[in-house]
């Protein structure tokens, strides 16, 4: 009919579906993300870009900074892993069993969301310090939690707990009992049903929760600094190092470390998300 396709055709990236307003909606999304997320982050890189390359390398990859990255990323990965496993268990109990006080337990799961992180930090420190309730029990075993990297992981586990529970719980609740019954009548035992049927079903939700818990642990500052002890090179997390740089008016140094964290966190989150996308594509392609 017409020789040239209308302009709208060429611009249309994907079909908008029944709801109108694809253009404005996408525009708003980009603007919003830009204002809230991208521009402030770009500022970090702008500041960093003002540094000389050697200067940047020196600040961003100093032994003290490297130790801080190791602790922050290592701790966050360990904490997220612990939360993924324990979170599935907690979600399982909340979905499958009825017991007195269940409402209280439900609410307790969300507590780490609501508590000011400093309060959490102080409470954890009080409990895990060598003279605290748990700390005094662990001390004879030679286990020190407060003021060590272990304490950092404990604080990270604490703040990340709700994520896995809350992402896995609805999926588990929607899980058809018929599917389990089918597996059962085909001869599968309880263990086989869990490993072969239920776990693969909740894995995507578990991964999402893992990514969230990881991100939260990585960015956590308030609760960690109370329990960490903050010894340079041992129990000093990267966010704290950034604050220390700022307090010394070394803005470039602070942004150098911040930009390394940003890039690394971004890459890790992309990795986790694409893992999920890959899994999903296998069922729904």
């Amino acid at each position: 009919m017409s020789e040239k396709p209308p302009l709208a055709w060429k611009l249309q990236i994907r079909s908008p579906g029944v709801l109108p307003g694809f253009g404005p909606a996408l525009g708003f999304t980009l603007l919003y993300l830009g204002l809230i997320v991208l521009i402030p982050l770009a500022g970090v890189f702008m500041k960093t870009a003002g540094m000389a390359w050697d200067d940047f390398l020196g600040k961003a990859f100093s032994p003290r900074a490297l130790a801080a990255y190791r602790l922050s990323f290592g701790g966050a990965l360990i904490a997220a892993t612990i939360n993924a496993l324990a979170g599935v268990l907690v979600a399982w109990v909340l979905v499958r069993y009825r017991f007195p006080g269940k409402k209280v337990v439900e609410a307790a799961v969300d507590l780490p969301f609501a508590l000011p992180t400093a309060v959490a930090g102080i409470a954890l420190t009080a409990i895990y310090a060598p003279n605290g309730w748990i700390g005094s029990l662990l001390a004879p075993l030679g286990l020190k939690v407060a003021f060590t990297p272990l304490g950092v992981v404990v604080a990270m586990v604490f703040v990340g707990l709700p994520f896995v529970v809350r992402t896995v719980e609805p999926v588990l609740r929607d899980f058809e009992t018929e599917v389990e019954e089918a597996a059962h009548s085909l001869g599968a035992g309880r263990g086989q049903i869990f490993w072969r049927v239920i776990l693969p079903g909740i894995l995507p939700a578990m991964l999402t929760g893992y990514a969230l818990a990881f991100a939260r642990a990585l960015g956590e500052y308030g609760s960690v600094i109370f329990i960490a002890g903050n010894m340079p090179g041992v129990s000093e997390i990267a966010p704290l190092l950034i604050i220390i740089q700022l307090e010394q008016y070394d803005y470039a140094g602070a942004t150098a470390i911040a930009s390394v964290m940003l890039v690394a966190a971004f890459l890790l989150l992309i990795l986790i998300n694409s893992l999920q996308a890959w899994r999903r594509s296998r069922h729904e392609a």
């Binding site: 059962h184 009548s185 085909l186 001869g187 693969p200």
Partner: protein, 368 residues
């Protein structure tokens, strides 16, 4: 093959099954037919071991299976909504039952592959082995569910509303195919349905259930031709009911007086005459044994015509005619006509309320 002995099931004080007994013979395909809430699915789940009976026994081939879990019963169960494993391919779904076997009886990878391919071939979806369940149509999913259940070489195949979620055409094809498959495999099977047409077409024997009890057990022809209760009669298809009095072996109503020799001993009782829509003939009004009715809405349904009428006491009546006969009559809305039952079934009114169960009703042959 399957013996169901006095099985009772109670859910929170509600009697879902009230001491029912049935024997399913080797190679037989039995339909449990009933409205929702009649206990048919509960009974199927008890046979499968997915639900525990509160009383009674289940035997497979003479052995008591009441205490066995579903896992140990070796039954193939096909769920209404298929319950496929969504994260597994069709192939892996079907192979599941073989792969979870204990090491000693587990077939090798190659044996598993051959067996699964045979099954996929059997249900005509060999080309879909690599797909995921979400990529399949309803009918294809049903076939996967069936192949998966057959993989464990079940002693008994149980199907819960096997065609419930499919559209009419697929449903029809699939049930004929299931019947043929059943015959070629010689399996013993029980399936649940609320669709009388399905039960009558597919099953060797039909169990009509209502409120946790068996209303009637028999071959499709027996059930259809000799329903023992008004419930069964109504459940097996559309029905017209005409109230009448039963007096000394005659059924007397507004405009008709039929002989009912089975009720010879009844002096005077309220009765109801049931007539199927296709057993009613339309004539001129006031001729012999005929009920006078007013023609209402008329619908053409493919090969037949359905005429709605209003009876002398305001009852809604329905007549099904061939298109040719309908054209010949040339009925007009509002016209008075006579309707004559060719074949009807008389029940005493008590039977309607379940008081007199053994009063089974009797056929009335109308002579006009």
């Amino acid at each position: 093959m399957i013996d169901i002995l006095n099985v009772t099931k109670i859910f929170n004080g509600y009697v879902a099954l009230n001491s029912v007994s049935l024997n399913v013979k080797e190679g037989e395909l039995v339909a449990l037919l009933g409205p929702s809430g009649s206990g048919k699915t509960t009974l199927l789940r008890i046979i499968a071991g997915l639900e525990r009976a509160d009383g009674g026994q289940i035997r497979f081939g003479g052995e008591d299976a009441t205490g066995l879990s579903a896992r140990d019963r070796q039954v193939g169960f096909v769920f209404q909504h298929y319950a496929l494993f969504r994260h597994m391919t069709v192939f892996d779904n079907v192979a599941f039952g073989l792969r979870v076997r204990p090491r000693s009886t587990r077939p090798s990878v190659e044996e598993t592959r051959i067996r699964v391919m045979e099954l996929l071939d059997l249900v005509h979806i060999a080309h879909l082995g690599g797909r995921y369940p979400t990529q399949l149509s309803g009918g294809q999913r049903q076939r996967v569910a069936l192949a998966r259940a057959l993989a464990i070489e079940p002693r008994v195949l149980l199907l819960d509303e096997p065609f419930g979620a499919l559209d009419a055409q697929v449903r029809k094809d699939l049930r004929r195919w299931l019947r043929r498959l059943h015959d070629s495999l010689g399996l013993t099977g029980v399936f649940v349905t609320h669709d009388q047409e399905e039960a009558l077409e597919v099953a060797d024997r039909v169990v009509v259930m209502s409120q946790g009890t068996f209303e009637q057990v028999g071959t499709p022809a027996e059930i259809y031709d000799n329903p023992v209760s008004p419930f069964v009669y109504r459940f097996l298809g559309n029905v017209n009911s005409l109230s009448c009095r039963v007096r000394y072996g005659r059924a007397v109503g507004e405009g008709f007086d039929f002989p009912a020799p089975e009720f010879e001993g009844i002096r005077d009782a309220a009765g109801i005459l049931f007539v199927r829509p296709h057993d009613l003939e339309i004539t001129d009004p006031g001729q012999g044994n005929s009920v006078t009715a007013t023609v209402g809405h008329q619908t053409i349904l493919g090969p037949i015509a359905r005429v709605e009428l209003r009876g002398p006491r305001g009852e809604d009546l329905e007549v099904e005619l061939t298109r040719a006969r309908h054209a010949e009559l040339g009925l007009e809305g509002g016209a008075k006509v006579g309707i004559v039952p060719r074949r009807a079934r008389l029940f005493l009114d008590e039977a309607l309320h379940g008081a007199e169960r053994d009063m089974n009703g009797a056929d009335i042959r109308a002579v006009s």
